[in-house]
Each structure stands twice: as structure tokens, then as C-alpha cells.
Amino acid sequence: MAHLRVRGLGKAYKRYPRKWGRLAEWLGLGRQHHLTWILRDVTFDVSAGEAVGIVGANGAGKSTLLKLITGTVRPTAGAFEAGGRIAALLELGIGFHQEFTGRENVRMSGHILGIPAARIDELMEDIEAFAEIGDYIDQPVRTYSTGMQVRLAFSVATAVRPDILLVDEALSVGDTYFQHKSFDRIRSFREQGTTLLFVSHSPGAVKTLCDRAILLDHGKLLRDDLPDAVLDYYNALVAAQRAEYEVWQSSRAPGRTVTRSGTAEATIESVELLVSGRASRTLCSGDAAVVRVAIAAHASIPALTAGILFRDRLGNDVFGTNTFHLGASPSSVASGEPLTVDFSFPRVALGAGSYSITIALHLGDEHTHANFDWWDRALVFEVMPGSGPVTIGVCSLAVEASWHTQPSATWSAVSRSPQ
């Protein structure tokens, strides 16, 4: 049975404060290093066929944990026991050589993965079919687009179903179509009994794919529970850290790597996303939420307008409006008056994914009149799939489907093919 048993696993790196410290140590001059623990005392079990998500912030030790179980990195403490063949999708296309053809690189990848050459030749047809790169298979890889390389690399890496599969989120590359295809393959491995260990920053993916989740924080295992419980805990943790971060930040100049521009008669002091009254950076599709903007006026302004704009991960505008159009602009604002404006959304109908909020303060209906403050990506948040049906895309439309024995007139008119 392909279980995974991890006991007290830890990894520390040696740090030598002095450049020649290591050499001195080799020469027997005593210990010159100190240990920096990246992962410490991690214990958990994954039973055969189970899918476990690993979540945590950057530097929490997620990738290190995967590398330890893969066997490339040697543990400093503890041990693990695996009940079957482990395959790791840590990085695609390791060992791909640009000058060789796709077919030659597939063979090489097979060798690296420990698949016998004869077996790879048997699988070649499947690998080609899954990658969907057509005749390019016999062209040098340097002529491929990045997407094609990724497709071929994923195809060969998953050609043989492993007993235990370790997946790093770095995998969510390529176009949406292939992302889905690769997700389907991982899902089908699961259905056939592969034990899965899945690292992700994206709460949505963990929720849909995993039976359980593990939260790592600063190299320690904080929670091991159902995905919902662990993700909630993680969100609270992130929110708490962000609050601290902003306190720290306000004591300094507010010059982050975001674009801010304006004449500063009025300035945006803070932007907060409130879910159930609590500051949060995540919400579920369809949840109610409030975007609270704190404003400071430094001059008397006749008709101050606050605008809000949601953008998706790629920077496309998803939704935007302002208090002018909402008929909610104050008639006049006195200098020095602290203000707060709440944009309340009874139902955030955004699809799962990452979004940013841009806030602007200006005069009248458009920011071209007088722009006081424009804060790009003032806040980034994550939308997780809601309790509703599975959907894709940036918006989550209210929808119902019904079947009828008689096709509707317009439908049949459109679909009838000319004879």
C-alpha cells in the first residue's frame, strides 16, 4: 500500500559566518557553523490513496518538505517511509536540451525518471498524444513555444502513474486548456489510487483536490485537518500578519512598489476588505464583502468621488464604478476631515482566482477632471470556489439549467446545418 509516514522530519542548513569557516572545520579546528532550520519536527501520515494539500506562506518550508520526500535533499533529522514508487513534479523539463528533438528529450526524461527505455518507447504514442504538439515532436525543442515545452514535459513526467505523487504548484503553467487537462490527469491518478501530496498557495486548488490539508508556518506543522478548517486558520493567520505589517508600514513612508499618483488634496489612508466584519484577504465566491476606504482630506473639496476597480490576475478590468455613479458622493468635504467610504457588495460574484482592488479619489464623474489620489493594486485578495456549482472564469453568474424534450425554436434555427 502506498502510504507515506513522516516522522519528526527536519532540515537545517549550515551557515558559516566566515568565508573560510568550512575549510577550518575540515581541518579539525572545531565547529564553525550554526544551523538554520528550514523545517523542524514535522510528523504526519498520509494513508494510501489520500490527497493531502500543503499550504503556507512563502518560506514556510513547503518546497523543502517535497524535496526531502523526493530524496534529492537529505534530512537533518527524522525520517520518512514511503509504501511505493514516488514521482515528483517539482519542476518540468529538467534535463531538456534545446538542440535535441522532442522525442530525444522524452527518452532522456524517461531515463532521469528511472523509466526503462523500452517502456518509454511503448509510451511514446500516449506521450505525444497528450502533449498535442503534432509534428513538432521530431523538431528541436528550441523551436517550441514555452507552452509546448511545458506540455511535453508534463506529458512525459506523468506518463507512468506513480504510487505517490508530489506536485508543486509551479506546475500551474501553460494555457487554461492545458491546466485543466493536467489537473484532470492528476485527478484521474487519484481515482486510480495514487497518493497525492500537493503544495499550493492557491486555497481553491487545495479545496477541490484534497481530502486533508497541512499548514506549515516557519518550518513547523501548525495544523493538520480538513481543508476547510486548515484554510480558514491560514487566512486568519495571514490577516493577522497583514495587520501587523500595515501598522509597521504606517510608521514609514507609504511608498511601496505600487503606483500612486495624484495631487493629494485628498489621500487614501487605507483600504480594507471586510468579510463578515473581519479584515480578510480571501473570500468565497458569492460571499458578502465590504471594501472600506479611509480617506484624509487636506483641502476643502466640493464634490469628492471615490472610485473602485477590480482587476484580475492579468490586470484586466473586471468591474469598476464610483460614488458619483452610485449617487453617493458627499456634497462637500471640509479640510482635515477624516472620512471612510464603504463599498458594500451583498454578493461578490467573482470566479475563483486572484484579484486586485484599485482605489481612486477624484472630482466629478471621471478621474480625468481632477485626480487627487490613485492607488493601483491597493489590495490583493483571493476568491475561492463557493458552495455553488463548479464554474470557471472571472465572474460567477447566477445560472440554472433545465432540460426540455422539445428544443427551443431559436436553438434549432441556429444549429440546423445547411444541406
Binding site: T72, V73, G95, F100, H111, I112, L113, G114
Partner: protein, 271 residues
């Protein structure tokens, strides 16, 4: 530090399990170097050929008196080639080994391959390159009717000894190079000195006394001299002359192995 056994046979088993990877890597190493060139394989031999040509043209006449008892006008060429083919093997393999872990960093970090497979790839690649150059040299010697008799068989242990020296020293330096990258830089310089401190271009007996005494520490001299005697005089010299190089090779192998065994766990951490 837990005590480690000096050697685990499972290491060899792991390498054997990855023989497909090893052979494919050797092939890829060979093919990739000439991929996209028009003359392809020719470039594999062009460099040593040019070297031999230059030294022959420049030095053949000057060196003739230094090789007494040799009537053939090709004597110096044979002397030179016998040394250079072995030197090529030595420096090629040493250079490969020194960069072996650093240059394969991404594979070592991301794929679970036995680390020892890499020196094996280096050795097989270097030996196959050597085989080509040696075959050319043998063809040349045969063409001028100077091919040695049965004494040629003695070249087998000579080649193995050169490979062992380079491999042992190479793994030692290659492991250290992960932690101190200066090693790779200094090796290039070391090799230049080493070449001229080995009687390859010039005959050993041309050396003044103090230099000969100093160069006696060079383990490559007896090996190269052994090969030169085989090809020039068609006789096998006393085997005992190889005792010192063999001892050095053994010491390098042991040192290299100890360094690798002690540090192999840290190699990936440091890359």
C-alpha cells in the same frame, strides 16, 4: 556524525539501475558538442590534430638530437603523440570531474539520480573521446610502419592508470568545488603548469638534474614515459616504474572517495 561504512555496494547497484541515463548522457555529451556544426565529427579531432601539427612543425628539427638512436624522421611526432593522447585524456577527464556537481546542479536538486552516475558519465565520455584520438594515432603509426608489436597491450593498464589518477583527483576537486568555486579556476592554471612539468613536448632526459629530481614527483611522468617507450622502441619498460603513479592514483581515489562520502549530503544543500 553517524559512522558510515567505507563503501556500500548499493551505490553500484543504483548506478547500474540508471545505466540507461548514463549511456544516454554519454551519447548526448558527444552528439551535443557537434550538433549544428557542418563538419560535425571532424571537430572532435581537430583540436588535438592542430596541436600535434604545430609542435611537430615547430619542434621536430630542434628535437631530433634529443632523441638519440631514433633514425625515423617521424620519431619526434610519435614521441609527442604518445604523450599528448594520454595528456588529453587526463586533462579532459579532470576538467569534467571538477565541474561535475556544479554544472549538474539543476539535475541534482530536482531529480533523484545517484550522484555517482555523474563521474561515471564523465569517465565514459572522456574515454570515448580518447578512443577516437587514439585510433587516429594508431592509424598514423601503422601507416608509417611503426606500429608496435604485442607490447601495445601494455597500453591498457597505462590508460586505466591515467583515468584513475584523473578520476580520483577530479572527484576530490569536484566535491571541494561545490563549496569553494575557486577550485575550478585554479585547476585550469594547475593543468597548464602540469602539462609543461611533464615531459611530453620535450624529452625527459633533456632536463637538468635539479629539474629532473623535482619532476620525479610528477606521477604522470612515468606513465607518459611508459607509453613513449612502447611506441618509440616497441618494448615494455619495467613495470615497477608504474608503482609510484599507481600508489598516487590509489591515494587520490581514496581521498576523493572520502571527501565525496563525507560531503555528498551537503552537496545539494550548497548548490
Amino acid at each position: 556524525m553517524p559512522s558510515l561504512p567505507l563503501f556500500r555496494t548499493s551505490l553500484l547497484r543504483e548506478c547500474w539501475a540508471y545505466r540507461g541515463f548514463i549511456l544516454a548522457s554519454v551519447k548526448r555529451d558527444f552528439v551535443s558538442r557537434y550538433l549544428g556544426t557542418n563538419l560535425g565529427f571532424f571537430w572532435a579531432i581537430a583540436q588535438p590534430l592542430a596541436m600535434i601539427l604545430i609542435y611537430t612543425l615547430v619542434l621536430a628539427e630542434i628535437m631530433k638530437p634529443a632523441l638519440p638512436g631514433q633514425s625515423s624522421r617521424f620519431a619526434y611526432s610519435i614521441y609527442l603523440c604518445a604523450g599528448i593522447v594520454l595528456w588529453q585524456l587526463f586533462s579532459d577527464l579532470l576538467n569534467r570531474c571538477v565541474g561535475i556537481f556544479v554544472h549538474n546542479a539543476s539535475l541534482l536538486k530536482k531529480a533523484n539520480l545517484p550522484k555517482l552516475a555523474f563521474p561515471v558519465v564523465a569517465m565514459l565520455s572522456a574515454l570515448s573521446n580518447f578512443a577516437i584520438i587514439f585510433a587516429l594515432f594508431a592509424a598514423f603509426v601503422a601507416a608509417i610502419g611503426a606500429f608496435p608489436s604485442a607490447s601495445i597491450v601494455a597500453m591498457v593498464p597505462v590508460v586505466l592508470l591515467v583515468a584513475a589518477l584523473a578520476l580520483g583527483l577530479g572527484i576530490l576537486l569536484g566535491t571541494l568545488n561545490v563549496f569553494y568555486r575557486d577550485v575550478e579556476q585554479s585547476t585550469a592554471i594547475l593543468l597548464q603548469f602540469w602539462f609543461w612539468l611533464t615531459p611530453i613536448v620535450y624529452p625527459g632526459r633533456a632536463l637538468p638534474g635539479f629539474a629532473a629530481e623535482l619532476l620525479a614527483w610528477n606521477p604522470l611522468w612515468p606513465i607518459v614515459g611508459f607509453a613513449q617507450t612502447i611506441f618509440l622502441e616497441d618494448r615494455i619498460p619495467r613495470w615497477s616504474t608504474l608503482a609510484y603513479p599507481a600508489a598516487v592514483a590509489l591515494a587520490f581515489m581514496l581521498l576523493g572517495w572520502l571527501a565525496f562520502r563525507r560531503l555528498s549530503g551537503e552537496i545539494v544543500d550548497e548548490l
